[in-house]
């Protein structure tokens, strides 16, 4: 039995009459890459925001990093990292200034921050650009930076909400290498994505549709179950069994 770092029991989130998350149940194990898949508006972002403490669930029991999601939200925040689909570093600050700010507010001591910052920038090959404003960098660099800064304080879990949206395949590969390195350092990765090739990189994958988790297993098991050559086919087959319905007023986003 592996150790669960996220436990979700009967998670429900309603926006008015609309069920964004309809009774979700799952566990995420320590050190794994957990893929959270689903079509647009399936309820992925809603769930991820609840687990990060940005949104309160309507009902259900949830634990993240061993802390209760209702009562220990601030303790959870100390132990997680989050990278939203909306780019969230300060564009008018330089790379160094962003690192100093985020490192600072997580309470990392200056010497330690400098050490980690140097390692990170060397790894990303961004050392020469440390004093450039984020706004002047290409999207791919920004996203790699955003991820690296999200795990600067070495959280137990990092939540990535469509981290590779809009970047080229090469950069996506590089991004996934960063994810693997984070996992090697013991960080659990919870990632949502649209790219089915990325789903193959995950240890386990759940696929959501209309607010429900339809399947949850390893990519290999899912391919076997649906008699598919790759995750793309799995996804299409699931989507075909339950045709997507349009959302009321786009409420699923938020």
């Amino acid at each position: 039995m592996r150790e669960a770092v996220i436990t979700v029991k009967n998670m429900v989130k309603k926006f008015g009459d609309f069920m964004a998350n309809d009774n979700l149940n799952f566990e995420v194990y320590k050190g794994e890459i957990f893929g959270f898949l689903g079509a647009n508006g399936a309820g992925k972002t809603t769930a991820i925001r609840i687990l990060c403490g940005l949104s309160t669930p309507t009902s259900g029991e949830m634990k993240v990093a061993g802390f209760d999601i209702y009562r220990e939200t601030e303790k959870i925040k100390r132990n997680i990292g989050y990278m939203s689909q909306k780019f969230s570093l300060y564009e008018d600050l330089t790379i160094n200034e962003n690192i100093r700010f985020y490192g600072g507010i997580y309470g990392i001591k200056p010497e330690e921050r400098k050490r980690r910052s140097k390692l990170m920038l060397d790894r990303l090959e961004l050392t020469p650009y440390a004093d450039r404003k984020i706004g002047d960098l290409p999207l791919g660099w920004k996203q790699k930076l955003a991820f690296s800064i999200a795990i600067l304080h070495e959280p137990d879990i990092v939540f990535l909400d469509e981290p590779t949206g809009g970047v080229d395949p090469v950069t996506r590969r590089q991004f996934w290498n960063l994810i693997y390195e984070a996992v090697e350092r013991g960080i659990t990765v919870f990632v949502t994505t649209h790219y089915m090739d990325e789903a193959e990189y995950c240890d386990r994958v759940s696929i959501m549709d209309e607010g429900k988790i339809v399947v949850l297993d390893t990519p290999d098991a899912l391919k076997k179950q649906f008699n598919a050559a790759n995750m793309d086919e799995v996804f299409v087959k699931i989507a075909r069994t339950s045709p997507p319905t349009p959302l009321p007023n786009g409420e699923g986003r938020k």
Binding site: L54, S55, T56, S84, K86, L89, F101, G104
Partner: protein, 394 residues
Amino acid sequence: MSYEFLVNDIRLMTYNLQLITYNMRILFYILQKEFIQIFRNKGMLPIIFVLPMVQMLILVFAATFEIKQVDMMIVDLDHSPASRQLTNQIMGNKLFRMNAFPTSATEAEQMIQASKSDLALVIPRDFDKKITLHQNPDVQILVDAINGNAAQLGSAYLSNIIRDFHKSILMQQKVAGAPEASVVEIESSFWYNPTLNYRHYMAPGILVVLITVIGMFLGSMNLVREKELGTIEQINVTPIKKWQFIAGKLMPFLLIGLFELIFGLTLAKIVFNIPFVGSFPLLFGISAVYLVLVLSAGLYFSTISDTQQQVTFVVYFLMMVFLLMSGLFTPVESMPTWAQNIDRFNPLFYFVRIMRGIVLKGAGISEIFNDFLALLAYAVGMFSLAIWRYRKTS
């Protein structure tokens, strides 16, 4: 036993001290980031320097009810030595500018109707004759009362001149040896602003407007901008404390506001030579409290708004109401009682009074204590409200 307690106490104290330094250090990083962003914003320096200059150099001159000149007409139907003497006496007053000499009262009325003149004096045909016969002569004053202030002032001045004229006539006619009629002479002396310089009255008020604008707009727009950009999400997943975030948004603009106050006061001193008689530290302390209040109000509204447009609209609307009711432009005493009661909730009302009191009257803490207390309570309440309303979890 007591030794153990002591050790525990010390341990607790060190722990608390560490916690405080830890929290302060985090606040420091937030402030550092805010300051970099504020001064990196190209629009910021012009706002900081141009705003006070425009307000102090233009508004203080322009926002005035002071009547410097009244256009008037004299309809002299008498053409006598007495009517000419009166005319000369009126023309000798700097307030009046003679802009027409109509030949009839009807013509004068038409001129006033057409807004070509503010005031007309009609001297009747038998003016000189009645004076000579020791009868009481009548004159007529026609006033355009659209601008009530100018009308009142103009007719009051005119009445005074006519009274003086009448007195001098009486003196000339006085029979030698007759007892002098006793007249009560009223001499007013104006305190705190002896020359009745309107600019001295307006400048402290305009300074209030200045730091109110800075306080309410800059802070609130800054916070909502983070919402629009989405960076606030990233802040909200960190263990940052709510008070740290709000204080981080508030303090830079508090300092900018106080700087604006120094800058504005310096301008007021240099340009208008305002007699600053009060205590600087007192003014600063109270302005700081006031700034915390308006900044917190702005931040509160930004926590419940999603876009800069929304928050700007709400803040702008409130500021209009507060400003117009503050006693800055119109005396609070002329408002109906119910409006004066509402004004108890208007922070600007207190601050305008305090500001004028300190700058012009040299009021000390004891004179303004009640107003200050109101302001302080308001500031603490608003700051707490802003922190309470800011939600890391929606």
